[in-house]
Symmetry: C2
Subunit: 338 residues, 2 copies
């Protein structure tokens, strides 16, 4: 698709997270140390499970965004370290709770990552990480930061509940779906970025610009994730394709294919995603229908639209290595789908 | 058992919550209104489920303690209303998360209250209430209060995880069990009381006295609850007896009966509570063993001990109607077991 944008000759290459990662490398090391330190507990199960999730895995995308936004705003201190750890704790708590297996899902025989530790452990360790995040924020002492992140947490939980009520509903509209991912994914990206401007005492217009960057990047990120779940590219990333399909998740590719499809095709979507009555070859047929109606390509197109808004949001900031890294991140986000 | 203490002639009667309830009646009405207002969400499932729990039921014991402690400390303002609502939100979130059914429990075929709504809904609505509690605290704006309640939340979650790891272990010691209930039950009672002294700007010694009152009352409260689960009195309160037994919960009556029992009796406890291999008549036998070894009476005796500490903690406060109500609450807590 080749949408790499030339700004200064340097960026005409396959975008990666490298620039961002190397800019915040030292700070991120401090964040990782703090994370390990603050998830310590005499209750051994907590560092065990949390360590499994927090210490081992993940790109640390959200805390990197907090670190880079603080730097971009000229923040000279150390508060961004603990706040980046908060953001990661909240993210991890959300992941743990999102993985909780429901009774109905068990009946359908689906397994989940939390099957190893049990639902209850996932919930309670998630609660611990969430509380710990608030303790860290209280130590930081900024009511503005507390306000941003407690609000974000409410919105995330609200979005997760909203998704439950629209789950497996093939009639979900694009607007309703976007509302859900704005709340459950993009809100934390927005908060992660905004914090940098807050602790650097930057004016409201810069806080809002970083919020908008994070929000729109977050939407694009989730849309591309949705595409990858039906894309061969996914297997290159080491993940199986079709997870969303098997769980009956309604994502934008499904919304588009359903609305553009014929009556028998809609019947197919209802059988497979609402009734979860899936047979051999159904995933293949789903992908064929999506390709036939350009549902995957158009979802990437939508992601590109949000990426463009994210790019413009950064327009008011001077050219700095951090800004370049944030622009790279947009390209990286979109081009994962290639 | 008749441990009603005569202080001024008024208290020589069966203690109830009436005095406390009537003292804070007007404030509690404001708390209830705020609770309904702040659990509103465009996502209908949230007020539905939360309303089911928060609006409908419960003695509102914890928020009443915040209201009464603020009054006892001479606090003249309105901040105690929102903070009492926070305490209730945190309590309700904990209840929701505590009810999550685990894979292993499902295999054993146990049902749970959350079976109606599903595990996932319980978790996510709990997260919403928890986040909402923090939003309310941030609006209040006191970092001291935020510190108390974020710390309490961490400790509660830690206690819940600790309980998972000791669950179904008949070798659990009295000390280990007390650590768990101190964390998962008593900590929130302590925080609920302490907040009153904090917003009234009372000196540290009074904050700590109220913390100690709440902590020790909370321990006594949980111990009596443990007794009630094996007591005929429970059926008068409209609850079935034997829930803890069926779930294999290790509570203090079990700890005492196990440790005082013979080898074959310990085998009985292991079969029924560790292996959860329960037959007709086992609950009856458990109650007989507990009575034989005075495990229930001695658990009440332990509760009375913590009640006495709670009583002494209030010694530094002047005689006020609120103090009288708090003393009543100790008697009420213990005498539920009669």
């Amino acid at each position: 698709m080749g949408i790499v944008v030339s700004l200064n000759g340097e960026r005409e290459r396959k975008p990666t997270l490298d620039r961002l990662a190397s800019l915040v490398e030292e700070d991120l090391r401090a964040v990782n140390e703090l994370i390990v330190q603050r998830m310590h507990s005499p209750v051994a199960l907590i560092p065990q499970l949390a360590g499994h999730l927090v210490a081992a895995g993940g790109k640390r995308l959200r805390p990197m965004m907090t670190l880079a936004s603080a730097r971009m705003c000229g923040y000279p201190g150390r508060r961004h370290i603990a706040l980046a750890a908060c953001v990661e704790f909240i993210h991890t708590a959300t992941l743990l709770h999102d993985d909780v297996v429901d009774l109905s899902e068990l009946r359908r025989g689906l397994a989940s990552a939390n099957a190893v530790w049990g639902n209850k452990t996932s919930v309670l360790v998630g609660d611990f990480l969430f509380s710990r995040a608030f303790e860290l924020m209280v130590e930081d002492g900024s009511l503005d930061v507390l306000s941003i992140l407690s609000k974000a947490s409410s919105v995330i939980a609200e979005g997760e509940v909203a998704q439950l009520t629209t789950a497996n509903d093939t009639e979900t509209s694009e607007t309703a779906y976007l509302d859900v991912i704005r709340a459950k994914t993009a809100q934390l990206f927005a908060a992660a970025c905004r914090i940098g401007a807050i602790i650097a005492d930057r004016p409201r217009v810069e806080q809002e610009a970083l919020d908008s960057y994070g929000m729109n990047l977050g939407i694009a990120y989730q849309l591309v994730d949705d595409v990858l779940d039906y894309s061969a590219k996914q297997s290159v990333l080491g993940k199986a394709i079709g997870d969303d399909f098997r769980e009956g998740k309604i994502t934008l590719p499904v919304v588009l294919a359903y609305r553009r499809g014929s009556a028998p095709e809609r019947e197919f979507w209802r059988r497979t995603l609402e009734d979860l009555n899936q047979q051999e070859g159904d995933l293949q047929r789903a992908i064929e229908l999506m390709n036939h109606y350009d549902a995957l390509a158009d979802t990437v197109e939508r992601a590109r639209h949000y990426g463009a808004i994210a790019r413009d949001a950064l327009g008011i900031f001077a050219e700095t290595p951090e800004k370049e890294a944030f622009l790279d991140l947009i390209d990286f986000t979109i081009q994962r789908s290639n």
